[in-house]
Amino acid sequence: MKNLNPSKLVIAGAIAAAISSFAVATPAFAADVEKCYGVALAGENDCKAGAGTSCQGTSTVDFQANAWKNVPAGTCESIENTDGTMGSLTDMKM
């Protein structure tokens, strides 16, 4: 069993190693990137017209019926367990 009492030399050594390996590889977080205020993800800070606004859905009653199929069918299909049981297209009611 190693002595777990942290020694200042171990820490100082690790810090020195971290500085030498990361200071070069890491982009410095200096103010050299100007954040463009007002530019956010699409639709996040503007008035999003289209899907989800009051002009959408006026001719349909999509969400009245609840007639959707209750089976996942997206990218989960590409995630597989080692025995292939997960992410299957069949509804695994438990």
């Binding site: 069993m1 190693k2 777990l4 009492n5 942290p6 200042k8 030399l9 171990v10 820490i11 100082a12 050594g13 690790a14 810090i15 971290a18 500085i19 390996s21 990361f22 200071a23 890491t26 410095a28 977080f29 200096a30 990137v33 954040k35 639709g43 996040e44 899907a51 989800g52 606004t53 009051s54 959408q56 859905g57 006026t58 349909t60 009653v61 999509d62 969400f63 009245q64 019926a65 609840n66 959707w68 199929k69 209750n70 996942p72 069918a73 997206g74 990218t75 989960c76 995630i79 597989e80 367990n81 080692t82 997960m86 992410g87 299957s88 069949t90 509804d91 695994m92 009611k93 438990m94």
Partner: protein, 255 residues
Amino acid sequence: MEDFAILHRKFTKALLKPQHEVPEGLIAVKVPNIGRRFDVYRNNVMASLVEALKANFPIVSALVGANFFNGLAVAFISDNPPVIPMLFRYGVEFPAFIAEYPSGASLPYLSDVAQLENHWRAAYHAGETQSIDITAVQEFSPEDQMNLVFEIHPSASILKSGWPIYSIWQGHESGDMGQINLETSENVVICRPQVDVMLASLNEDACVFFRQIMNGQTLGEAYGAAAEKNEEFDLSYSFGQLFAMGLVTGLSVKN
């Protein structure tokens, strides 16, 4: 006025429940079928909230596909209408709801992925602060380095998971899900030092180290706790990562 209050309550109640009847007492001028008109309004409310959830949980949505997501979202929205008028915060309870959702049992990792998306969004909207460079540590003596405590960026958080949530997130970022082994567990540290939200996966000992540092423990204490978890804990790597992720915004020595 009391009648109006009752009608108002019935109206809002029926709004989020597609199976509910049109509230009694509702009238419209020159419209014979008030039910159809109410349905249109009800549909718009639901459609906009489904879109809001989809925007807030793009990976969950992609994982399960549009049909399943719509069903999941409608079920959630019916019982969890927004409580604050900022839709980017909508869905804080969505992960817990997913965990209990019966049809989601075939995707046990889905709840944690939703939680990761909540963390991502919280980081995205968190305050801005300047992170400091790792070289700032050089100004302290070895004695003081042991007792360093760290000021942490306001956007930083950690999420522990029993599922490979980092790999799933990365698969969606890169558009290549590749081979993800669901039997792996991944912890994630999230931070937005500048414009972009950054994520990194942490193994168990590194997670202990980050937790301790973020909870205000000294460098010596955090190292001790991580080394207790795993004798082979790589302090140099984790210490570098702390700064590379932009987590550190200030340093001081605890006496």
